[in-house]
Symmetry: C2
DNA sequence: CTTTTTGCAAAACATTTGCATGTAA
DNA sequence: TTACATGCAAATGTTTTGCAAAAAG
């Protein structure tokens, strides 16, 4: 991208925008767009799936949502805008996610530098099964 | 692991199995199943896409291939069976990947234990632009 | 011969997009 | 009024699956 100054997208306040946001906040761990859409329907909100996707994208861009790429798709989670980025320990069963902090991320920059890479982003995803789900494991 | 003795899947030796493996080895960085399939076609091998997916899955399970989940899908890369799992520094432009080793992964187990999680897998993906691609950066 | 593997096409999903229609500002 | 936002359905793109035919052992 040649840094084309994008027309500062206007953000209009809409019911569905709020609904998506609220639903996301209500969700315990990371959720997929479809899952969130399902939840919204159950709650009575008649928000279109496309809108859920669009809003989730916006939320992620705005930093209001954290997102990780899982094999079953993109997952989102509400996130305080101040948080910046962090890593998670995610339960593969229920999706519950715990924030974890690596002791140091210097080694990442270190490694990048050593190999002549310019860092753009990094992801640390740790998957497992939480105590609750693990106990009832079949 | 509950060590449920799974019916030891028979592994029959087939041409396409070899073809997929070879194509994967020939590929420099991480490749998607579809990309690999395309490559195979260009090389003349008439391997079905489904087979490529199936084999790639097997290779990953067997530990003969490394795999990362990217937004555009699952990516695979040939990998020595002895290697175990490791992490990568991936160029977002050309896909070239360099192996990197975190100083220690104890903190992951540590964190899991602390939160009562049973670890199943973890992924560390660091994305950036390699020296080569970075130079010509527009 | 028996069982696995393949190929193909259809099915399943996740996600995006085109467009007419609502609607905030 | 006038853009932007939404909904819906169609379009994409990836990965899986059903099943009959081919191949391995």
């Amino acid at each position: 991208m040649t840094d084309s100054a994008q027309p500062p997208r206007e953000r209009r306040r809409t019911v569905q925008k709020e609904a998506v946001r609220r639903a996301l906040v209500q969700s315990p761990g990371f959720v997929s767009a479809t899952a969130l859409h399902r939840r919204l329907q159950q709650q009575g909100s008649r928000v279109g799936l496309a809108t859920v996707y669009r809003q989730l994208t916006v939320l992620a861009e705005t930093g209001l949502a954290d997102t990780v790429t899982a094999p079953e798709g993109q997952l989102y989670r509400a996130c305080a805008p101040t948080h910046g980025h962090h890593h998670h320990l995610i339960c593969e069963d229920c999706g519950r996610a715990v924030e974890i902090a690596p002791p140091s991320e210097e080694w990442i920059e270190e490694a990048a530098r050593r190999h002549g890479y310019t860092l753009t982003r990094h992801v640390v995803e740790v998957f497992g099964r939480c105590a609750e789900c693990g106990a009832e494991r079949a």
